[in-house]
Point group: C2
Chain length 199, copies 2
């Protein structure tokens, strides 16, 4: 029951699924995984999702690179996932905390993405103010889209959006409250975005 | 900032996206929505996701019906979503709490689904024991698949799986700890399931 033991490891995890809305979905997913350098993270794929674990910077770098590679096919793709820290489970991936800091994926191609996120700071009586603060940060960063039930809309260029997500995730946890969860849903190349000024 | 005010309304919400991995994704999504009776829930769709809100039983009934209708096309579909209660935001949907209890979608077609879920009982110092208990419940109900980082695997017939999710969601909250979040990722008609004994 490794998922039920919370610890103090700084290892960050992202359990996600990438959904290309095309008959060629296998090809798009495999291509995106192949074009991404995932050597800095521990990775495991099952029949529902993929999990990557390692240093925060590498986890966000790999998550963005896989998404961007899939996006560049032009296909409508969705990314759904949960970032977690402070509940490391077993220590199988802890060796990845010794990886060098240099980011291995550097593609700067611009890509509009529309997304939604929610922060869940666990066992923190003051969690609502943490959420307020990070939503305010999105507004300051120029990536806030709209308020909505149970989430906040975040959009813009994929690099700005992932930068915000990493910054929010970094800031929403503390030594006193280590267990943090952040869900992200992202839509790219959607027919709903055609002709949108948001592009 | 309606998402930032937690309250005591019993209204349940489910923010989700349905991803048919086919070029005909628009047709599959629209078909599933059209064939489902959604009159017992408040519903809003944006460019990333759809949110339904109402009585717990109706929210789970509608979520399952939309998923089952999409699954019956035979296409590989994924469902990703977050159930929430105790953080109702504005009261726009509260009128739906007056709906009759009778469930409006009754399709009993069997369908194998593989899924993963995570429970996030907010501001509850004892949250890990809540999670333990509900994972044990999955084992008792015969829908537990496997342990994994950050989630638990749940599979079986769609009706048994949704019954478990509703039961877990009902039991993981209390009057003392009203704000509960549950994420669910589901994969249906996946090529990964072909020939699997799990079917
Ligand atoms: Ca607490």
């Amino acid at each position: 029951m490794n998922e039920l033991q919370c610890g103090t490891s700084p290892i960050v995890g992202f359990r996600f699924s990438l959904h290309p809305m095309t008959d060629r979905f296998v090809e798009v997913i495999k291509g995106a995984m192949k074009e991404t350098d995932t050597s800095a993270v521990w990775m495991h794929t099952d029949d529902v999702s993929t999990v990557i674990r390692g240093k925060q910077a590498h986890v966000f770098n790999v998550a963005k690179a896989i998404t961007l590679h899939a996006a560049k096919t032009g296909v409508h793709v969705a990314l759904n996932g949960t970032f977690s820290v402070g509940c490391p489970g077993d220590s199988a991936g802890d060796v990845y905390l010794d990886m060098p800091d240099e980011l291995l994926n550097q593609d700067e191609t611009k890509q509009y993405v529309s997304s939604q996120f929610a922060l869940y700071p666990m066992n923190n009586p003051d969690y609502m103010s943490v959420i307020y603060r990070e939503v305010d940060r999105a507004k300051e960063r120029g990536v806030f889209n709209e308020s909505m039930h149970y989430a906040s809309g975040i959009h813009g260029d994929i690099h700005d959006v992932f930068d915000f997500y990493e910054e929010a995730f970094e800031n929403a946890r503390s030594d006193a409250h280590r267990h943090l969860v952040m869900t992200v849903s992202m839509s790219i190349n959607s027919p709903s975005h055609e002709g949108s000024v948001k592009r």
